[in-house]
Symmetry: C2
Subunit: 341 residues, 2 copies
DNA sequence: CTGAAAGCGCTAACAA
DNA sequence: TTGTTAGCGCTTTCAG
C-alpha cells in the first residue's frame, strides 16, 4: 500500500483539498455527511496526515523533549512513566535524550531543541553542568522548559524538585539518632545543586549535633565509573576509624556501598548504617533491607509535564513561569539503619 | 533572539538561498570561503535549519520510534541505553512510546509510526498482542522495523532475541538439581511468545525428569496489578504441598515472590528456591541474593538498533530482512537456589 | 561555484 | 458548507 497524500485522497472523494483537510480534523465547518465520506475513504486508502508537513505549517510539533543524565537510575524510569502519563493525554510525542552526565552533550541536545523540533523540554541537568548559557538560549528562543529533580540553581524558570535540604538534614539526624557518631555523606559531584543541598542539610544536622565537621571529612565525592566508585568506597571502609554511617546521595552509590561491605566483611547495620536517596523497589528485600529517602519520582515527572503544558498552552508564556513546586520525599526506615544496643 | 530562517540568513550574507543551504550542509559544490561566511553568520545569528521543513522535503525524519510495554522493568532501561548508544552515533532522534501492555495502544502507536513520523521502529510487543495486523501495516508502508526481546512469533522480519527455550530448560534443570521436587513456572501471559518459550523449555526439563506435569500445575499465570499478583503468589504459598521452587519469567514477579515470602514467613532457599529472568543490578545484594537468568539487555537494544539502521540505510529494504539474532542469556547462581542438605 | 524556481504535504485566509 | 490559493522552510534539479 503506497503512502497516499491529501491531494490524492481529495481527488478520490471528489472534494477539494481544504475540505478534506478540515474533515480529517473534524472541523465544525464541514457537514457530517462529507466528514463520513472523507473518514471512510481515509480509512479505506490508509491515509494519515504527514505530521511534518503539518508541523511546518502550524509551527507546532506536538512533541516534547526529555533530557536525562542517564536512564539506569530507577528514579528516571519512574519519572518517564509520569511524563508519559500526561503526554499521552495530550497526544504528544516524547523524545528522550541522554546527556550521560556530560555538559557538552547537554548543550548539543539543547541546540537541537532550539531548532523548532519540540514545543517544550523537560530537563534534569548533568552533574557537570556549571553554567546556564544553553538554558538562556532556550529561553531566548521562547521554548518553554522546566527543570525536574535536578535543577540549575538561581535560574529563573519553572522547576519541580523535592525537599533536598530537609532530607539531607533528616538523613543525618536519623543516623545520629540510631547511634552513629561518625556519619559521612557520599556525593557524586561538588557542582550538582541537588547533591549540594542534600549535603548542606546533612552538614547542618551534624554541626547542630556538635560534631566538628572540620576535623573529619564528612562530605566525600565519589566520581568515575561504577568500578572506581566501588574501589573508593572500599578504601573508605578500610581506613582506621572509618565512618559508622553513610548517606548515599544517589541510588547507584547505595549499591556500591552494599557490594563493598560484602567484600570487606563489614556488617550492615552493626558496623555501618546506610541510608540512601533512592526509589529502588527492591529496597525492602535487600540484605539488609535498605532505609531510603524515597522521592515521588512518578509525580515529579507528572507534575513537571503538567506545568510544561500549561506553559505550552499559555498565550503568554512568561505568565506561568517561575513556579517552583516542591514535592516532599519520605524517609522509610528499614533494617540498614537499625539501632544496635 | 528571534528564530531566523534560511531566507533571512541568505539576505544577511548576500547569497542565494540555495547557496546557503548547500553551505550549511557542507556541500562540495561550495567554496571554502563562502562556507566560512555562511557558517559564521549562522553561528552569529543563531540559525538552525528547521528539521521539519527538511524532513518534509527529504522524506527522512532522522527519527526512530521505540515501543515498549513498560519502562519500570530494568531490562528496558538497559535496552534504551543500548538503543541510544547507536542512535547517537547516527545522529538520530529517539521517540519512546509505552504500550502499557495493551494491544489497542500498541496499534495506535504503530498507526502514528505509519504516518511518516519515523524512519524505523524498534518494538517489544505487549503481552496482549495476539495478531499481527498492525505489523503488516508497517510492512506495507515499507517502514523498517525490528522486534527485540519480545517478538511476534512466525512473523517474517528481523528480530533480536535471547535463547528463551534453552533458558527455560536451564531454569528447571537448575531447580531440580538443587533439590526441588515440585518446581513451578510463573508466567505473565499465555499469549506472550517469550514467556511461552521459556515455559516450554521449563516443561521439557520437568517432563524429562519424569515429573508428571498433568497432575500438578506447573505453569501458573500471574496477571493483574502488582497487588493482585502479590495476593495470587501468597495464595500459592499457603496451599498444602505448595511448590518448593519457582521460576519468575519476568523481573517484577521475582519481587512479588520475595515480598510474599517475607509476609508468609517462608524461607528462601530453605522452603522455596527462586530463580528469575532478570537484569536486576541489586540481585547480588538481595536477601537472599537472587539467582538470575540475565539477559544481555544493553546488547539486545544495541544490536537491534544496528540492524534497524542497516535496513534504513539499505536501498533494497527487503534484502536485509528476516535476520534472527539470538544473544544468549547467562544463568548466574546465587543464594536463592542454594542446595540445602 | 552560485542562483532561480519548483514543490515536499499540509493549513488557513479568503472567496464563493 | 465548500473551494481557491498562498505560503510554512527547506532541498534539489537545472541554468547560468
Amino acid at each position: 500500500m503506497k503512502k497516499i497524500n491529501i491531494k490524492e485522497l481529495a481527488k478520490l472523494v471528489n472534494l477539494s483539498i481544504s475540505t478534506v483537510s478540515k474533515a480529517i480534523r473534524d472541523s465544525h465547518e464541514i457537514s457530517e455527511q462529507t466528514k463520513n465520506t472523507v473518514l471512510e475513504a481515509a480509512e479505506k486508502f490508509g491515509y494519515a496526515p504527514n505530521p511534518y508537513a503539518s508541523s511546518l505549517r502550524k509551527k507546532k510539533s506536538k512533541t516534547i523533549a526529555v533530557i536525562l543524565p542517564e536512564v539506569a537510575d530507577n528514579f528516571f524510569s519512574l519519572a518517564i512513566n509520569g511524563i508519559h502519563s500526561v503526554a499521552e493525554l495530550k497526544n504528544y510525542h516524547v523524545l528522550i535524550y541522554l546527556s550521560h552526565e556530560k555538559v557538552e552533550l547537554e548543550k548539543n541536545i539543547i541546540a537541537h531543541c532550539c531548532s523548532g523540533r519540540v514545543d517544550g523540554v523537560l530537563i534534569s541537568i548533568s552533574d557537570e553542568t556549571a553554567n546556564a548559557d544553553h538554558f538562556h538560549k532556550l529561553q531566548n528562543e521562547n521554548i518553554p522548559f522546566v527543570f525536574f529533580d535536578r535543577e540549575f540553581e538561581n535560574f529563573n524558570t519553572t522547576k519541580v524538585i523535592t525537599n533536598d535540604f530537609e532530607c539531607g538534614y533528616l538523613s543525618a539526624k536519623h543516623l545520629l539518632d540510631r547511634g552513629c557518631s561518625h556519619p559521612v555523606f557520599l556525593s557524586i559531584s561538588p557542582s550538582l545543586p541537588i547533591c549540594n543541598k542534600r549535603a548542606e542539610g546533612f552538614t547542618a544536622a551534624i554541626t547542630e549535633a556538635g560534631i566538628d565537621t572540620g576535623k573529619q571529612d564528612t562530605i566525600i565525592y565519589c566520581t568515575g565509573s561504577q568500578e572506581e566508585i566501588f574501589d573508593q568506597i572500599k578504601k573508605l571502609l578500610h581506613k582506621k576509624n572509618h565512618a559508622d554511617g553513610m548517606v548515599a546521595s544517589v541510588e547507584r552509590l547505595a549499591m556500591q556501598i552494599y557490594m563493598a561491605c560484602v567484600e570487606s566483611a563489614i556488617r550492615i547495620p552493626e558496623d555501618l548504617k546506610v541510608i540512601a536517596f533512592s526509589t529502588l523497589e527492591t529496597a525492602p528485600i535487600l540484605n539488609p533491607s535498605l532505609t531510603t529517602i524515597t522521592q515521588p519520582a512518578f509525580d515529579i515527572g507528572k507534575t513537571a509535564t503538567e506545568l510544561l503544558f500549561t506553559m505550552i498552552e499559555a498565550s503568554n508564556k512568561t505568565a506561568v513561569k517561575n513556579a517552583t513546586v516542591v514535592l516532599p520525599s519520605r524517609l522509610i526506615e528499614r533494617n540498614s539503619t537499625l539501632r544496635i544496643d
